[in-house]
Amino acid sequence: MKTVLDERIETALEDARLQAVLEQLAFRFATARNQAAADLPNWEELRTQAHAIKRHTIENLSTYLQQLEARVRERGGTVYWADDAAQACSYVVELARARGVKLAVKSKSMVTEEIELNHALGRAGIEAVETDLGEYIIQLAGEKPSHIVAPAVHKSRAQIADLFEKKLGLPHTEDVAKLTATARAVLRQKFLAAGMGITGANFAIAESGSIVLMENEGNIRFSSSAPKIHVAVVGVEKVIPRMADLAVFLPLLARSATGQKLGSYVSILSGARRPGEPDGPEVFHLVLLDNGRTRMLADPVAQPEGSPRRPTLRRQTLYCIRCGACLNVCPVYRKIGGHAYPWVYSGPIGAILTPQMLGFPMAPKLPFASSLCGACRDVCPVKIPIPEMLLLLRSLETESMPGGRWLERTGFRLWAWAMRQPWLYRLGGRAARFIPARLLAAAGPLAWWRKTRELPVFPGESFRDWWRERRAPPAGMTTGRRP
């Protein structure tokens, strides 16, 4: 019965250092986010508006994607549609091969983690270097990001010092400024030597054919400007209608992600360099990736009459702007960290994205790993109703299991019947009081289920017995009632 998820959760819970890091991360990010949200008087209006714009865009996705494609082409860019990860990877690999690229620099992008682009490039003999400091660290370590915003947060400075000593030959130092300066120097050479820069995008503007990227380090500016080829791999849900929509989304993204008013650098890129401009890429390629996204537009659940929200419940997953705020407030993420999740997307958003994109067999029980407390919904800058989606996914997962629907229905029918039989209820209560708790806890098949649930302590006397004694007091005692 134990899944990979269960095993990873156990490992994470036993890792004392990880527990301390997660507590600090969650506290710092969540506090910064709360202050930044409180600081904007129209925060709630912005969230409502962001939700409305995303809703409108997703309801008109084909229109805006066609507009985006047309504008990018008008500006001389190339648009490639990728149905899945394999198509996206092979397009980028072929492009690099055709152009004789040996080295590509990459900026942090969840979507390229999702499609495992680095592996594809590596297999083709093309070196792909992550240039965000956190991503660079985990690339050196051969690991995966554990947080959307802070990918290497699980590593200690001592571990990073060892890593830099081993891989870069830097004399052992735990001075963060020195470690950072070393990464800067190494990566600076990579930027200037690379033939291709690969980025994602936070937003793609339909009306102008621009992509928008927010960051703090400057590596995205480098990756998108220094090499001759700029490739942006962008999920189809990233499109927004208008440039001016950024006035809604940028403050929400920055404040939700790190509590900043804006990231240090926001780049609005509209194609390759133009005549007269002294630098910038010679060509711009936009890879529009689906990889399971448009499947969320179809809702497999029959819709009851007069239910305005349910038809669009699943597709609201596509509203996500990847700020990571839901991770920081999630009581589950805060205990198990990003690596316990089955895929690159962790936290509450990962719990709804992963089963929908990979299917339930790849993410068994993930929607069940939640207390449904609703903290994620409260902080989500685009107001995605994550708890409602988790419930929907739970029912879909149960229904998808062979006999799952029958098993659950029968189980609950049995329970309902038993609860209507007073004699059976009394018998059960007596049995529970009679059997020692330790014996129940050790009971074989229920042990795994019990592990995360407290067994209540049964009182020595049932309510029924107690009540009977009060109603029929022994002779000689007054009942307090007047005759």
């Binding site: 504008r71 290497a152 480098f222 208008r242 780049s267 007269g276 002294p278 448009t294």
Partner: protein, 220 residues
């Protein structure tokens, strides 16, 4: 066989139609003193060093001293606001005459400032590309006080065709930073660790027009 585009588009339900939601009403215009004060407060809170110049001459003097203090070479954008300062001397090199990656200091032009975030808005253009403000460890940006806007809504209202104007517009909000190692804030990871903003005060700038080319001339 269907193309990937046809397959993706085939899964997208018919468009619902309608217009995108209207944006929130803009806040009332801010008086110039409030714009300047807020910009300075926000930018300096992020670690930017701000110099208010009474005249083009005092701005040039500040930049000369900065170049001396930092040592090495300075690459100067060939854009109107910067050229009007007439920076000359052995350390100063017009853009295109010295590799910016080897310079200590870059001097660039901000087309706008955003008061509510302390941001600088830089367009890639002839004489100043995407990377000049990124390569050197110290970046000084020249910003006329009159170009400070309240924030993003005003910027997008003023510049309705950003994508037509340039292939790249970047908003710079403080120096390059990271907190990727144990959440410890570190400044200057890939971009400049030191950001200077030289604000040209409006009346004094106008008085310079007699002897210098106009500071606020359009780029092209």
């Amino acid at each position: 066989m269907k193309s990937a585009r046809e397959q993706v588009m085939g899964r997208i339900p018919a468009a619902g139609g309608g217009a995108p939601p209207e944006h929130l009403a803009e806040a009332t215009a801010w008086p110039p003193e409030k714009l300047l004060a807020r910009f300075m407060a926000e930018a300096s809170a992020l670690g930017a060093k701000i110099f208010e110049a009474d005249s083009a001459a005092s701005a040039a003097e500040y930049l000369r001293q900065l170049a001396e203090q930092k040592g090495g070479e300075a690459v100067v954008a060939r854009r109107p606001l910067v050229e009007a300062l007439h920076l000359s001397g052995p350390r100063f090199h017009p853009q295109g005459t010295f590799p910016a990656a080897e310079a200590t200091l870059s001097i660039t032009q901000a087309d706008y400032g955003l008061a509510d975030t302390g941001s600088l808005v830089l367009f890639s253009a002839e004489g100043e590309g995407r990377t000049l403000s990124l390569l050197a460890p110290v970046n000084a940006v020249v910003l006329p006080a009159s170009r400070i806007l309240s924030g993003l809504p005003e910027l997008f209202a003023r510049e309705p065709a950003i994508a037509d104007r340039s292939s790249a517009m970047v908003m710079v909000t403080g120096p390059s930073r990271t907190a990727d190692i144990e959440l410890t804030l570190t400044i200057g990871v890939h971009g400049p660790g030191e950001l200077h903003v030289v604000i040209l005060r409006e009346p004094e700038v106008r008085s310079q027009k007699v002897s210098h080319p106009p500071l606020l001339a359009p780029d092209s």
